[in-house]
């Protein structure tokens, strides 16, 4: 399978806490992308990290990539109730294959 596998499947935290989600994949990638999906809506792109990058930041989001371990993590700092959503990783393997998504991590942020 060329999809990423997110872990944990579900995560519940209090507002203000940090949330960490992990992604593992199996073959070499060009880049890895993280997306968010609010209930019943389309996915929204969060961050793209290239295979030669190790860390990337966007606002309260921090993504790391370890190509030797074939894994990535998404950290959301100082979480808010509005961060409640499902989060998906999508390893991008080549230009000839479509992005394939796993089942995601369901994050619940409790106010």
């Amino acid at each position: 399978s060329q999809q990423g596998e997110e872990d944990p499947q579900a995560l519940s935290i209090q507002e203000g806490e940090n949330a960490t989600m992990n992604c593992s994949y199996k073959t070499s990638i060009n880049n890895l992308q993280w997306y968010r999906q609010n209930s019943g809506r389309g996915l929204v792109h969060l961050i793209l990290i290239r295979s030669n990058e190790r860390e990337k930041h966007s606002g309260r989001l921090r993504v790391t990539l370890d190509t030797s371990k074939k894994s990535s993590s998404l950290l959301i700092t100082a979480s808010r109730a509005a961060d409640t959503a499902s989060y998906f990783c999508a390893p991008d393997f080549s230009g000839n294959t479509p992005l394939v998504f796993g089942k995601g991590t369901r994050l619940s942020v409790i106010a």
Binding site: G40, R41, H45, G95, N96, K103
Partner: protein, 114 residues
């Protein structure tokens, strides 16, 4: 810029009927992707169109088909509907040749088969 638009937002069909779902990509985007998201499952890749041609197809039966028009909009057709086809169908687009770039998603068509 206008985002990816999908129509209809909701569609209710009876088992055995046919459903047609439509997608308009962002202006300038030539690649269109279709995904199925059934309850409790992740996104399942269905079809990928680029410049009017089918580039890749997911593990779905032939009754799932589609096409891309000269203006790069796309249609997904599902024939002989089955109850398990009930799902959120998402369309996404991205520019020509920019494979290392994000997908832009529409908000989907919710298909209910009764």
């Amino acid at each position: 810029e206008a985002g990816v638009t999908q129509s209809p937002t909701h569609l209710i069909k009876t088992r055995g009927q046919q459903a047609t779902l439509r997608c308009s990509p962002i202006s300038g985007h030539t690649s269109v992707y279709w995904y199925q998201q059934a309850l409790g499952l992740g996104l399942q890749f269905l079809l990928w169109y680029d410049e009017g041609e089918e580039r890749n197809r997911g593990n779905f039966p032939p009754r799932f088909s589609g096409r891309q028009f000269p203006n790069y909009s796309s249609e997904l057709n599902v024939n002989a509907l089955e109850l398990e086809d009930s799902a959120l169908y998402l369309c996404a687009s991205r520019p020509r040749g920019s494979y290392n770039s994000p997908l832009h998603f529409g908000n989907g068509t919710r298909l209910t088969v009764t």
